[in-house]
């Protein structure tokens, strides 16, 4: 008897057997070991595929033959081999105690570059932005990791990660592209919109991270290597779009004070200003302009060095940006959220995050420590961010709030009232801006309050009649609408609302009267009929609904029925979670009442 997959001699393989190969086959084909294969796959972005029919069995990983061929023709493969043999040379020299030769050899090690691969994997800039989430998360994570010999994580790389992440943040800050911020237990999530792409990344809390044993660092480092290169190129492109030279030259004083982001934003600010003046010269003579540019840069640098008593270089950003026309609505909203507000961060506040978020939304910010743009005793400070149970010396001219207030304001896109965020209080729940509450089926209380406030704010800003009337009907929301400076406006709005409510009531009464006058008989009959019709089956409405559902299901073909069942099950599962939350909430409420 012929074997199961008999193929006549000389006939080529076809189908899934020919199109896919297992990992070990691929290794043999490429003549590499598993480590090298893994590195290649990571760098080239090649992943296993799922063949329709798994010829070799279910427990294998399958790669497409074309993917493997793609790896086979990769010049990097040859380069890796070269490096491997070179390493052997060095080892040999060391083993023979020929230290000098070893040293000499080490200085001439072959190197490789990944830029071509980046272009290959992401032919357009947008493609690269689309896949940037993982890259940013990883780079931000490694920026806070301690360098470790055991894991072969060098200080240089950690610094590079730190630098890249700051550069990225400086760009986002400068273009006001930040949209959402969420402080979670895992870290702080940021979402920015760059060239229409929503990019979300996670930065860990600025606390010493711990190494765990169940992680293979070589994998992580290979990924990191690619991501570092990718992010550098992306930063280059983005900085170029701002007319800023990359890599940036930073004010060493600020850098030493660990205020990289501030230094960067000042740099961008300065060089962008320089560029605006320059472009004509650029066109005429490139070499000259280059020189000039550099001198300009140096000038800017010198400007940095000037005492930073001028209140915040970031101010200029805001001023400058007004000139730029091509801005969408959202950017404008984001840019002006904290406009005219001055913040001061006290020592215990997560400075990195707030220094990023506040200027990104148009606020001016300073901190306790050297190199800060303005001092704590500045009279124009409007908000003092504090994360202690109590503040020491209180200035009456400013408000003392907890940092969560800023994040909540940013997500709500309005200035929230600060009472709940006062120092020493437990702040209201911090809600995720990534959840669509309506779709989820459960709206937390605080989300509703924020919604009402938003509606109120919108009404105040654009007092359109008829918009948001429903929201305004609730007199309760007025309690929250009392934002200090806008108290008067609020009052006016309240009056208006009251008027509107009264008017409405009057209209309704009128209507009722009219009804009674005209067709009391006809209407009554109709209503009675309707009621009768409705009441009769009301008896066991549930049963009927159930029956109807069951009957509709009876005639479905099996395939559709299964799909329907699966969908229903998914819905039920989702509802189950929400119901559990609702139940908990009820319990809490009951407990509070008792």
């Amino acid at each position: 008897m012929a074997p199961k997959h008999y193929r006549p001699a000389g006939k080529k393989k076809e189908g899934n057997a020919a199109r896919y190969m297992t990992r070990s086959q691929a290794l043999k084909h490429l003549q590499v070991n598993l480590n090298l294969f893994r590195r290649l796959c990571i760098v080239k972005g090649i992943f296993p595929r799922e063949p329709k029919k798994k010829v070799k069995g279910n427990h294998h990983t399958y790669y497409h033959v074309k993917d493997i061929a793609f790896l086979h023709h990769e010049p990097l493969l040859e380069k890796f081999r070269e490096i491997k043999t070179y390493q052997k040379k060095v080892l040999k020299a060391k083993a023979k105690k020929n230290e000098e030769l070893a040293r000499l050899l080490l200085t001439r090690q072959p190197t490789y570059k990944l830029d071509r691969l980046i272009l290959e994997r992401y032919p357009t800039f947008i493609d690269a932005l689309r896949d940037l989430d993982d890259c940013l998360t990883m780079v931000h994570l490694f920026a806070v990791l301690p360098a470790s010999d055991r894991e072969k994580l060098e200080v240089k790389r950690v610094h590079n990660c730190r630098k890249l992440s700051h550069e990225w943040q400086a760009y986002i800050l400068r273009t006001h592209a930040l949209r959402k911020v969420f402080v979670s237990v895992k870290g702080i999530y940021y979402q920015a919109e760059v060239e229409g792409q929503k990019i979300t990344w996670l930065t860990p809390h600025a606390i010493q991270q711990v190494f765990t044993n169940d992680v293979d660092f070589s994998v992580l480092l290979t990924f990191l290597e690619f991501y570092e290169t990718l992010l550098a190129f992306i930063n280059f492109k983005l900085y170029r779009s701002l007319n800023v030279k990359y890599p940036p030259i930073l004010d060493s004083r600020l850098e030493a004070l660990a205020a990289d982001l501030y230094a960067l934003s000042r740099y961008i600010d300065a060089s962008a200003r320089g560029m605006v003046v320059e472009p004509k010269v650029d066109a005429s003579s490139s070499s000259q302009s280059n020189d000039r540019e550099e001198s300009e840069l140096r000038l800017a640098q010198l400007q940095h060095q000037l005492p930073s008593s001028e209140p915040g270089a970031l101010m200029h950003l805001v001023a400058d940006n007004n000139k730029e026309v091509e801005e969408d609505e959202e950017t404008r909203v984001c840019k002006s959220l904290f406009k005219d507000l001055k913040f001061f961060l006290s020592r215990e506040v997560p400075r990195e995050s707030l220094l990023f978020v506040l200027p990104a939304f148009g606020g001016m910010v300073s901190w306790e420590g050297e190199g800060a743009p303005f001092k704590e005793d500045d009279d124009s400070i409007t908000h003092h961010i504090i994360d202690k149970p109590s503040a020491g010396h209180l200035y009456l001219s400013r408000e003392y709030v907890q940092p969560q207030w800023i994040y909540d304001c940013v997500n709500a896109r309005i200035i929230l009232p600060t009472e709940k965020y006062m120092v020493g209080r437990v702040p209201p729940p911090h809600l995720s801006p990534f959840v669509d509450n309506e779709a989820e089926g459960y709206v937390p209380d605080y989300a509703e309050q924020i919604k009402r406030l938003q509606a109120a704010a919108r009404n105040k800003v654009l007092p359109l009649p008829g918009v948001g009337k429903e929201d305004l009907e609730d007199p309760q929301n007025l309690l929250y609408a009392g934002v200090m400076s806008r108290a008067e406006e609020a009052e006016a709005a309240e009056n208006k609302k009251k008027m509107a409510a009264k008017e409405k009531q009057y209209h309704e009464e009128l209507k009722l009267e009219l009804k009674k006058g005209k067709g009391i008989v006809v209407d009554g009959e109709a209503e009675a009929e309707g009621e009768e019709e409705e009441s009769a089956p009301n008896a066991d409405n549930n049963q009927i609904a159930e029956d109807n559902a069951a009957m509709a299901k009876v005639t479905m073909p099996r395939k559709k029925r299964k799909l329907y069942d699966a969908m229903k099950m998914g819905q039920e599962k989702r509802n189950e979670g929400i119901n559990r939350i609702k139940e908990r909430k009820n319990k809490l409420k009951n407990a509070a009442q008792e």
């Binding site: 357009t124 237990v185 280059f236 995720s432 605080y446 029925r561």
Partner: protein
């Protein structure tokens, strides 16, 4: 030290030996005399030695080195360089020609090496000098620099003494005669000697020279000091200030008057080789002095024309799915309702690890109290693994409302009339009602129950007209389909009883009585007689047909003359037909595969449908050959079957709650399979005139369907579920609804429940 130098040492030793052959002096002065005889070069050394003796200490090694360097610095420096070169040369692994050079060089360098050696030895020198008298033999053995030593007086040479241990002589003299050992003192003598001579302890026997040596006082002092770890000379100050004895400033002439060796004037071949090598390395670019110009590591990668989309030659890239965005529960300060209670957390522990929630929300009251997330690295790592190890597949996710999957059904209002509400209940049975049957006029229904009673009810009033009581549970009842022939067939156990209901007119009664009279029973064929026997029924005056097995189903032919009974038996004996008029029983002319479940006669043609466990076969009663059609239901176990009055459509109910509709013109596969009941279907029924059919099940519901069959063959039957009829109690020990039948004229449905009630549903 290399072997060559050793050789040369030995040469020198020999020289000195010959020189000092006759010299038997022991003292240091004599040694120095010997030294003075040596060439000038050695003088330098002796000088050095003296110096060393003057200020040697614990760190005399360093001193010696520095001294040496200062003495003939140029020479020594070059030597150092040479030796270094030598080393590097060996490292770089050059050819053979160079190795010969090496030898030459080695000779050159020998003197220097020698010097060094001497320096080293001279450090020991003082020690040696002191010990010489006492332990000369050992000294000779130990030291390899010979010229300092007093020439040994024995001619044995450096031969281990144990070779002569048992001999009387110790080596040979120059003429070849044995040198005899001194007579050894025995213990007693030696003891006596110690007793006699108080200075005996100072005497040491020198084995090599075969003599006794007496230590002087100074020597013993020296030894004592050395044992104490002090400098051997009492007047030696280890911490004496350093005095540079050599006046450097006004020295015009070199220290040595020896002519400069030639090698100092010719360039080193080694160096030349080395230089050539370096030159070559520089030329080839292996060694670079200026750092290579660094290309900018980043540049404008995506050109401005990046919008042009080149078709990638490779497979389509599937972008990795993005991570799920965090919800409210991941917040550092979530609303209280998101935090699980203690009990819930405890219950998580009991769960399987896969089911356990991955993330348990926590609450921190302030930002500063958030700790580092312990799984940050791990999650990042897992994401990486997903990215390069997980097969990526594009999956189409159907994002639709599940309700839209339901088929659009015609409005039920348009399909009226159909039974939808319970109108009447017929109560009277004491056990589950297993079977009901409607009379063809629609005035009466008959019912059989497990309590052994058969009842006839008036449909419109619910009055029980008649009751028969039997001993066994009634399995099946069936009215004769002819309206002028009101007889009832009742199956219970092995018996089939044909009862006269006494309902019709007198004339009809007469004919019935005549028919049921078993006066002249015809001869049954032998094979049939083995299965069936016709008997008169004594109690109720009907006919009793006793079968060889329990009857499971009976069905009348439309003409009212034939009646088929089904028994659980294979081959030809499972189904038999009885002809009432002739009182004859016939076996089917063909074999049946498997055990028959139920049979149905075709309403217009001479076909019979026989359902076995899984399939339905259609046989022509007039032909003896196999089935003309086999309908494959695809169900596990058929329980019931009903045929459309048109004869082309058949419904089959199964014990898994499914119902199949067969359109026999269409295919032998079901036209539609309806999964309506969660439990066994007990019976299915067609209405005789309305386009209705029904099924009933042990889940105590009955479904009513609209099932319209069109005359146009191109149009498929329309099946619409209309109503679910409930009402029978669900509790009655898993009975549910056991039978359902339509009223022959009205769109009414009778259902027989296991709760011993019969219900009538009307429109």
């Amino acid at each position: 030290m290399s072997k060559k130098t050793e050789e040369i040492d030995e040469d020198k030793m020999r020289e000195t030996r010959t020189k000092c052959k006759n010299d038997s002096a022991k003292s240091k002065k004599q040694k120095q005399v010997v030294k003075e005889v040596k060439p000038v070069e050695k003088e330098v050394k002796s000088l050095k030695e003296e110096d060393l003796l003057v200020d040697s200490g614990a760190d005399s090694d360093d001193d010696g080195d520095s001294l040496c360097g200062s003495l003939n610095s140029d020479d020594f420096d070059s030597d150092m360089f040479d030796s270094e070169d030598d080393g590097s040369q060996r490292e770089t692994e050059d050819g053979d020609g160079e190795s010969s050079e090496d030898k030459v060089h080695g000779h050159e360098g020998l003197d220097d090496n020698d010097e060094e050696n001497e320096q080293v030895d001279s450090e020991n020198g003082e020690e040696d000098g002191i010990d010489e008298d006492s332990e000369q033999g050992e000294v000779v053995e130990e030291s390899d620099s010979s010229e300092d030593e007093v020439a040994p007086r024995n001619t044995v040479g450096d031969v281990p003494l144990e070779w002569y241990k048992d001999e009387k002589h110790i080596g040979y003299d120059i003429t070849g005669k044995k040198i005899t050992k001194k007579e050894k003192q025995d213990k007693l003598d030696s003891f006596l000697a110690t007793m006699d001579d108080s200075k005996n302890w100072r005497k040491i026997y020198d084995e090599y020279n075969d003599e006794e040596v007496e230590l002087t006082k100074e020597e013993s002092k020296l030894i004592r000091r050395m044992l104490r770890g002090e400098a051997p000379h009492a007047d030696f100050d280890p911490y004496a200030p350093y005095v540079d004895w050599f006046k450097w400033d006004d020295a015009i002439h070199p220290l040595s008057s020896a002519p400069e060796p030639k090698r100092r004037f010719i360039p080193s071949k080694w160096e030349a080789k080395k230089v050539v090598k370096y030159v070559r390395a520089i030329r080839k670019g292996w060694i670079k002095f200026d750092k290579p110009e660094e290309e900018p590591s980043v540049y404008h990668l995506w050109g401005d024309d990046s919008t042009l989309d080149q078709k990638s030659k490779h497979l389509t890239y599937i972008p990795p799915p993005k991570l799920k965005l965090p919800g409210h529960e991941e917040s550092y300060n979530p609303s209280l309702e998101y935090i699980p209670t203690e009990e819930e957390k405890a219950s998580y522990e009991l769960m399987f690890e896969e089911d356990r929630p991955k993330f348990i929300p926590k609450r921190f009251t302030s930002l500063r109290s958030i700790p580092a997330y312990e799984n940050a690295l791990k999650e990042s790592f897992e994401r990486c693994l997903d990215l390069y190890l997980c097969p990526r597949v594009r999956k189409k996710r159907i994002n639709i409302d599940p309700e839209s999957l339901k088929p659009k059904l015609p409005s039920r209002k348009d399909l009226r009339p159909y039974p939808n509400s319970c109108y009447l209940e017929y109560k009277g049975h004491t056990g589950p009602v297993t079977s009901i049957s409607t009379e063809s006029s629609g005035q009466w229904i008959a019912s059989g129950s497990t309590d052994g009673s058969v009842r006839i009810w008036e449909v419109e009033t619910g009055r029980c007209l008649k009751t028969w009581q039997f001993d066994e549970a009634v399995k099946c009842v069936a009215w004769n389909p002819l309206s002028d022939f009101p007889i009832l067939a009742v199956a219970m156990g092995r018996d089939l009883v044909i009862l006269n209901t006494e309902l019709g007119t007198d004339e009809e009664q007469n004919t019935i009585k005549e028919l049921l009279n078993l006066g002249n029973l015809p001869e049954q064929s032998t094979s049939v007689a083995a299965i069936v026997s016709w008997l008169p029924d004594e109690i109720y005056g009907g006919i009793k047909i006793r079968h060889f097995k329990n009857i499971s189903y009976i069905h009348w032919h439309r003409k009212g003359d034939y009646l088929s009974t089904v028994m659980a038996s294979g081959e030809t004996r499972g189904v038999v037909t009885h002809q009432i008029s002739k009182k004859l029983t016939d076996k089917l002319p063909f074999k049946i595969r498997g055990l028959p479940v139920c049979t149905v006669f075709h309403p217009s043609r001479s076909f019979i449908f026989i359902a076995t466990r899984k399939n339905v076969r259609v046989y022509d009663l007039l032909k003896a050959d196999g089935p003309i059609k086999k309908l494959e239901t695809g169900m596990r176990e058929i329980s019931s079957m009903a045929i459309h009055p048109g004869g082309d459509n058949l419904i089959v109910g199964s014990k898994e709650g499914k119902m199949c509709w067969f359109d026999m013109d269409l295919s032998s596969k079901p036209y539609k399979t309806l999964k309506n009941h969660p439990k066994d279907i007990t019976n299915v029924a067609f209405h005789r005139s309305y386009p209705l059919f029904a099924s009933c099940s042990v889940d105590s519901t009955a479904y009513v369907f609209h099932g319209k069959v069109y005359n146009d063959l191109n149009e498929n039957p329309l099946i619409v579920p209309l109503e679910i009829l409930r009402g029978h109690s669900t509790k009655s020990n898993g009975g549910g609804v056991l039978d359902c039948k339509f009223h022959p004229r009205q769109p009414w449905l009778f259902t027989a429940g296991a709760d011993s009630i019969i219900k009538l549903y009307c429109h």
